[in-house]
Amino acid sequence: MKGIVTVLGKDSVGIIAKICSYMSDKNVNVLDIAQTIIDGYFNMMMIVDLNGSAAPLASMASELETLGRDIGVVVRLQHEDIFNAMHRI
């Protein structure tokens, strides 16, 4: 099962580092990262492999949300199927 992590917020030092170290703690493999800066706002998307992790997706999603709040960005983790359903026929 793959998840998609999106991050949106004010750019600052260490955003990717903090999220990646959380992923590493949970044994989640990062497959792909894309990022842009729009009007000074940091915008990142990660595709992650959740198969190696014992933690349920929903609990990781809420922990990432909290982690994001601490560093001043909005972090979401969602099952990739919602994006596939909407954008792929």
Partner: protein, 452 residues
Amino acid sequence: MITINEANETIRMISEANLDVRTITMGINLLDCADSDCEAFCRKIYDKITRRAERLSRVGEDIAKEYGVPVINKRISVTPIAIAAAGCRKCDYAEIARALDRAADAVGVNFIGGFSALLQKGITPEDLALLDSIPPALAGTERVCSSLNLGSTRSGINVDAVNISARAIKDIASMTGDRDSVGCAKFVVFCNAVEDNPFMAGAFHGVGEGESAINVGVSGPGVVKRAIEAARGADFETLCETVKRTAFKITRVGQLVAQEASRRLGVPFGVIDLSLAPTPAIGDSIAEILREMGLEQPGAPGSTAAIAILNDNVKKGGVMASSYVGGLSGAFIPVSEDHGMIEAVRAGALTMEKLEAMTCVCSVGIDMAAIPGDTPVDTISGIILDEMAIGMINGKTTAVRIIPVAGKSVGDTAYFGGLLGEAPVMAVNGFGCSTFVRRGGRIPAPIHSFRN
């Protein structure tokens, strides 16, 4: 692989444009609960509903968290009670309503639909007993919704049932008069009622359905509005294409959620209902879409065309996105649940007559419209009869969910609270129709019903 722009588009739909799954409704067959003893019947239906739907709320919440899309309501529809309870020798329908209410409460759903009867061609003694009990049943329960089918393209319109329904609406209004007659919000009458509608108050689990089914209602007026902002000034072809593409994306989310809910609950997937349903929240309104299309207010000339375009293109986009489409599938225009419609009524732009015209081309009918508390029963019959005729002749579902607000008149506002919103009391044509509606009997089926 999904691109960052695609991911952003989905997230913006959810976080900024109120994309959500409006309801996961579990249909449950109650025919096997038949018992000659009414108490035993109540016990059986309570047990069956709570057993079948035990995990419904939990599964809905889990899916919402994992996919990051809100699932607003979890609901239950059951076999029309007039049929399911027909075997009871001495039936206390109000007690059955209370059993349904307790079951809904126990599994944490906010509405349970199916306190219903199918009367399009005739009324059985059991139907009659259920009809008598509707006002006290709705006044005495919180979550139970009641619906009646009064006509169909195949059978014509049962005018006797229309007159009984109008009386029931007045009685419900007076029995819940201390709460702005809110009981009427839980009662709807149909022409061509559908058996797999997931939306309340009209959901019931038809007798042609299986043991159980998961039906999902998607929504996203805000997403459509946001999308057509990009088509300002463009011609109708572009406008229609934009609505269609957006409806496709919205429906795909619904399909995903429905399949996932069906898998997790071990209940077959029934249908996706493509209806665009507003809520009182800003940015979740059908009226805002009509304004974005270029109308000053809903109700202005052009409104019927605008709703027709919206309705048709939601279907065109949605049908390809789902393997099974059903239910009501169209745009809802409930007055009290859409802040833009409320504003249009207050501004004098939207009248009952224009609302009725708009229901000719959209689902479902005159919905959540407040009218003066002293509106005569026969006038309510006339309003219902008009709406049923639209449905019968055009081969579509139409409905009336109207609230004659006890003690209030034009200029006042009825407050229902929560998703039901508030409604300015609308003027009703004061000319009489008593002699017409009191003819009673049945209106024969229209000529185009003879398709065999």
